[in-house]
């Protein structure tokens, strides 16, 4: 694995709960990497540490060889502009229209003032996600799947190098979940964006991921390509995978 994005010995606790206890994982540039694990093992905590919403108690996160944890605030903001994050519930700004939501990172994060350029970008993204006529709608008027797609469009507005997805298909019906997974694949293939997913959709994970990391007991217990992990000897991971795939047989 290259040194594009690396998590080194990451620790994070909330009070007496030690959620992450020395996480080590690397993410290849241009790859789709999924983090799987049981509920409550700290998958969301891990990616929130990567994006900087949470600060680790110990350890480091290196982006292109530079520390994100120890960087000055201005430098950290500049590094953060290379990242996008799709929240589980999309986290759209409910006082803004869809168009304003998608334009927000470009206008407020990058300081873009050219209205024509902004409008063009917004319309391109709306067409890419298949919602070309929803520019003036408000988030409350959209379905869950539509909100998820608008959230994805918003993350793509600034053409990030890395996209983090926090359970992108949770709560969606199978058809919509497949649509979202296809969008993730398209994001990776069409734009070359490095994608990091937290997901419980194990079957989709094995289908779309280049690499998979298994988080258990506060650490990455196994990491590798899907075909390598499917042959793992790790007892918890074996049970995790076999339970997930045996549901299909039922």
């Amino acid at each position: 694995m290259d040194d594009f994005l690396t998590v080194n010995d990451l620790w994070k606790s909330f009070g007496a709960d030690h959620i992450l206890r020395g996480v080590n994982i690397s993410f290849d540039e241009g790859a789709v990497t999924s983090i799987i694990g049981q509920s409550g093992t700290g998958k969301s905590v891990l990616i929130k540490n990567i994006i900087g919403v949470l600060e680790p108690d110990r350890g480091d996160i290196l982006f292109r060889g530079e520390s994100m944890v120890n960087a000055e605030p201005a430098k950290r903001d500049e590094m953060r502009r290379h990242f996008g994050y799709l929240f589980q519930d999309s986290a759209l700004f409910d006082s803004m229209t869809v168009a304003e939501n998608i334009a927000f990172p470009l206008v407020e994060g990058r300081g873009e003032k050219d209205r024509d350029r902004i409008a063009k970008m917004v319309q391109e993204k709306l067409e890419w996600i298949g919602l070309p006529h929803e520019a003036d709608s408000y988030p409350a008027e959209l379905s869950g799947g539509m909100r998820k797609r608008v959230g994805l469009a918003r993350t793509l507005a600034v053409e990030p190098d890395v996209l983090l997805f926090d359970e992108p298909t949770t709560g969606l019906d199978p058809v919509l979940a497949a649509t979202i997974n296809d969008l993730i694949t398209r994001v990776n293939e069409e734009f070359g964006i490095t994608c990091i997913l937290i997901t419980h959709d194990i079957q989709a994970t094995f289908r779309i991921s280049d690499y998979i990391g298994f988080l258990y007991d506060g650490q990455i217990q196994a990491q590798g390509r899907p075909d390598e992990l499917s042959k793992t000897d790790h007892p918890i991971l074996r049970k995790f995978i076999s339970n997930s795939f045996s549901e299909l047989e039922v």
Binding site: R80, R81, G84, F87, A91, F93, D94, E108
Partner: protein, 287 residues
């Protein structure tokens, strides 16, 4: 069915295995522990508030200045509050004129009503009542809006886009409050005096010449400015306190509701305490 808890001593109850209840001691040690926890929480909260206050102050001079957001807040906090402030200050002016005229009639000093109402309004009532009304109207809304944004991860989303939520959300509200609170207080002074004139002169037959002579003779620009300065400080306090509770709101509708209530109570008590301190200082420094 077995009890959910088991006793291991006269003063302790332990949770059943697998449950999540904390061990609680109900004896003297338990009281001391509870007291210690409250003191710890108090200092933790004060520390967290101080950090937040530092973030707010640090962001005031930062660029960019978001003029659109600023004017939106001036309209919401200021313009949309004009009717309620006008009504409340008119009512206060009228009530005070009624009560003071009756009182001063005992000393045949009815003509002093204008000055008495003017002084009271300018120094105390206009800034305090205006601020309390604005806390109830805008402060609670501010906390609820920011609290909802917190629990739906909108504040986190902003952070992931390298946009400081304090600079984007709090700074425009803060500047708008510091601008509009004194303007609304000035309006409250005028409307309150008009209300007092209607009651004192129009209804209770106080001599209008005496009303205005005493008003102009005793109420000085210093009285008015001191009230406006108080209003600006109260606007600052309301925004910081209500924003703090919004940013640190608990989860769910209950958490947001609790935060709104705490924000209104804390802001109201805070400005009353601040009013006393400022009144004491101003009396020493300005008079």
């Amino acid at each position: 069915m077995a009890d959910d808890t088991r006793k291991s001593g006269p003063n302790t109850r332990l949770a059943a295995p697998g449950s999540h209840a904390e061990e609680r001691n109900y004896g003297v040690a338990g009281i001391i522990e509870a007291l210690g926890r409250k003191v710890y929480n108090l200092f933790f909260g004060l520390g967290r508030f101080t950090v937040f206050l530092g973030q707010v102050i640090r962001n005031i001079p930062r660029r960019p200045i978001r003029w659109r957001l600023l004017w939106e807040q001036v309209e919401r906090i200021g313009v949309q509050s004009v009717p309620i402030i006008a009504m409340s200050s008119a009512a206060i002016g009228m009530i005070f004129a009624l009560q003071l005229t009756m009182l001063m009639a005992m000393f045949q000093a009815e003509s002093m009503v204008g000055a008495a109402v003017g002084l009271t309004l300018a120094r105390e009532l206009a800034p305090v009542v205006t601020s309390l009304m604005l806390i109830a109207k805008n402060g609670s809304a501010m906390t609820a809006e920011l609290g909802t944004m917190r629990v739906t991860e909108q504040l986190d989303a902003m952070q992931t886009m390298a946009v400081d939520p304090v600079h984007y959300l709090v700074t425009p509200r803060l500047v708008a409050s510091v601008i509009t609170f004194p303007i609304l207080t000035g309006m409250a002074n005028v409307v309150g005096l008009v209300g007092s004139y209607i009651v004192a002169v129009g209804m209770l037959r106080v001599d209008p010449g005496g009303f205005f002579n005493q008003l102009y003779g005793l109420v000085t620009p210093t009285d008015v400015y001191s009230g406006l300065i108080k209003a600006a400080v109260m606007g600052f306090m309301m925004t910081v306190i209500c924003s703090y509770y919004g940013f640190h709101s608990g989860r769910g509708a209950k958490g947001v509701g609790q935060s709104s209530t705490q924000a209104v109570v804390t802001s109201s008590v805070g400005i009353l305490i601040a009013d006393y301190i400022m009144a004491d200082l101003m009396l020493k420094l300005l008079y």
